[in-house]
């Protein structure tokens, strides 16, 4: 009996009671749904969608929802209802630019976009971390009524960013508000 109980426990652990779960199919988040790529891992612990294939320092995709008017960590600016995508992009980018851990922050691209018919912005930026490693990020932002949705892909510039940028675009393209 003890042997079976132990086997059951081992099975449960292997089956995914740990902090990461294999990605599969669509993910229903906090007011949104996105299609996830196969072969990646999804964090069970984050209260937003966080997925990676090789580890979050090598690539990560984050999808989250926040209420318009919520506070940001690094800027006192806030999103407001009815903001134009360009204005929303300015707030998001200033939040990143004011992050003391993002050194040499530079905006490469900032333009309007559409995510499943919703007006959005798309921005691409780079920064260095404290160890001098250069990162690149692609970020879609959508204001929809009282909610703001962020869809972000981050990876080291060298080798990793270009590897999965197309996968990210597919994820972003599948995004729907629920």
């Amino acid at each position: 009996m003890k042997k079976y109980a132990l086997l059951l426990l081992l099975f449960m652990m292997l089956g995914g009671c740990g902090p990461w779960a294999k990605t599969k199919g669509a993910y229903n988040g906090n007011g949104f749904v996105v299609d996830l790529p196969e072969g990646w891992m999804r964090s069970r612990q984050a209260d937003y969608l966080l997925i990676t294939r090789d580890g979050v320092l090598l690539q990560s995709v984050v999808v989250y929802r926040t209420e318009v008017g919520s506070s940001f960590k690094n800027t006192k600016k806030k999103l407001t209802k009815g903001m134009m995508p360009q204005e929303a992009a300015e707030v998001i980018l200033d939040n990143f630019a004011s992050n003391q851990e993002y050194l040499n922050f530079q905006v490469i691209e900032n333009k309007p976009a559409k995510i499943n018919g919703l007006p959005a912005f798309k921005t691409v930026y780079t920064y260095k971390d404290k160890d001098g490693l250069r990162y690149k990020a692609m970020y879609y932002g959508i204001i929809n009524n009282d909610s703001f949705y962020g869809i972000r892909y981050t990876a080291p510039i060298r080798y990793y960013f270009d590897n999965d940028s197309k996968i990210f675009e597919k994820i972003a393209g599948s995004f729907k508000v629920q």
């Binding site: 960590k73 006192k76 200033d94 004011s98 691209e109 333009k111």
Partner: protein, 386 residues
């Protein structure tokens, strides 16, 4: 037996005192102690990391000026023992710190806040005294378990917003110097000895207290209940009282010291403008306005100051901000008719107001002047929709 007890007691006292009873570097025959050499080596590593981190404000002329002021404060034999070098860190928060081996870092935020060279001298003298009086090694020796202390710094400060980010970049020695500060006694010593250097160099000691008044004002505006920066010990009101006492007693009647306001403002004008820009990004509108207005008192005909003021009004978007933004953009283009971003600003305001004709004119002018604008696609979309 009693004699043994007394001897034991004396040894304990001496051992305790020896740990922190270090003469300043100006003492004849000064040499570093062994653990101090290791602390200096660690400090140099951290300072090198800062210097290579893109945090340093790139302005050689400004750096030369700051180091010139530092050299006025210390005699050559002290500079030889601790080769001070002052650099500016691009950071809008009010802070400055010194490593024990002489690297001194001043945030652009606190530099932009000052009014004259006497205030700068007070700040530098305070920080340099931490190094000349060997406060870092005294503090480290005072702590029984250094690894536990450093770990505690990491966990208690590392998780706090802003402070945590600073810790990740600075390292343990830098964080102790810049964030947690030294003990109350050592901070008081830095205040007193520092003020002595300031007076000796011919500066007006009455300016010393004004830095704290500005710091206190910032803390009230930001609703910070207790400052981490610029030393937590003693607390800011206590430090203001310390300086007030010194000005009433030891330095009473010292009215004719040097301030060098004009030279100082000329040297730091660009820092004021850039720092106002950092504050605008951080959403600290009142500081952004203050910085832009202060810059315009030094450089009234610089379109960049008017533009920054306009942007601050536009981005805050309260009450009569839109009218004030428009007025400031107009001043910017009156000075520099080719300043493209001012046309964009005016166009965006007019777009929001529903004045399509005026918005089109200004947004088209923006794209004409800046064909490679990174936000070109937004503007083209607005023009299509109008």
């Amino acid at each position: 037996m009693t004699r043994l007890c007394y001897a034991f007691f004396l040894i304990c006292i001496l051992a305790g005192c020896a740990g922190t009873n270090l003469p300043p570097v100006s003492t004849a025959g000064f040499t570093l102690e062994e653990d101090e050499k290791r602390l200096w080596a660690r400090s140099k590593e951290e300072a090198t990391a800062i210097d290579q981190s893109d945090m340093i404000y790139d302005d050689r002329e400004l750096e030369a000026y700051l180091n010139e002021v530092a050299r006025k404060l210390q005699p050559p034999q002290v500079m030889k023992a601790v080769p001070f070098k002052v650099e500016v860190i691009r950071n809008p928060l009010l802070n400055a710190f010194a490593y024990p081996h002489g690297a001194v870092y001043v945030h652009s935020g606190i530099l932009a806040q000052m009014e004259n060279e006497a205030q700068l001298a007070t700040l530098l003298a305070h920080e340099m005294t931490h190094a000349t009086h060997r406060h870092a090694i005294k503090e480290f020796r005072h702590v029984k378990s250094k690894s536990a202390y450093l770990a505690t710094l990491s966990t208690t400060l590392g998780g706090a917003p802003l402070i945590g980010e600073v810790f990740n970049i600075l390292g343990a020695v830098g964080t102790m110097a810049s964030v947690s500060g030294y003990s109350s006694d050592l901070e008081t010593q830095a205040d007193m000895e520092g003020l002595q250097l300031v007076v000796k160099a011919g500066y007006d000691p009455r300016e010393a207290i004004k830095i704290f008044a500005e710091l206190k004002k910032e803390l009230e505006e930001e609703e910070v209940t207790e400052p981490f920066f610029f030393g937590t010990h003693p607390r800011i009101n206590e430090r203001i009282r310390n300086y007030q006492k010194l000005l009433r007693t030891e330095y009473a009647g010292r009215n004719n010291g040097v301030k060098n306001e004009s030279t100082f403002r000329g040297k730091i004008a660009k820092v004021i403008l850039d720092n106002a820009g950092l504050n605008l990004k951080a959403g600290r509108y009142s500081k952004a306005f203050h910085g832009a207005e202060k810059y315009l008192t030094i450089r009234p005909n610089d379109h960049r100051g008017h533009f920054l003021l306009a942007e601050a009004h536009r981005q805050r978007g309260e009450n009569d901000d839109m009218e004030k933004a428009m007025a400031a953009y107009r001043k910017a283009v009156a000075i520099d008719v080719r300043h493209s971003e001012s046309y964009r600003g005016m166009g965006l305001l007019q777009l929001k107001k529903g004045d399509a004709a005026a918005a089109k004119k200004n947004l088209r002018q923006y794209l004409n002047l800046m064909p490679q604008a990174t936000d070109r696609e937004y503007i083209e979309e607005y023009l299509k929709q109008m």
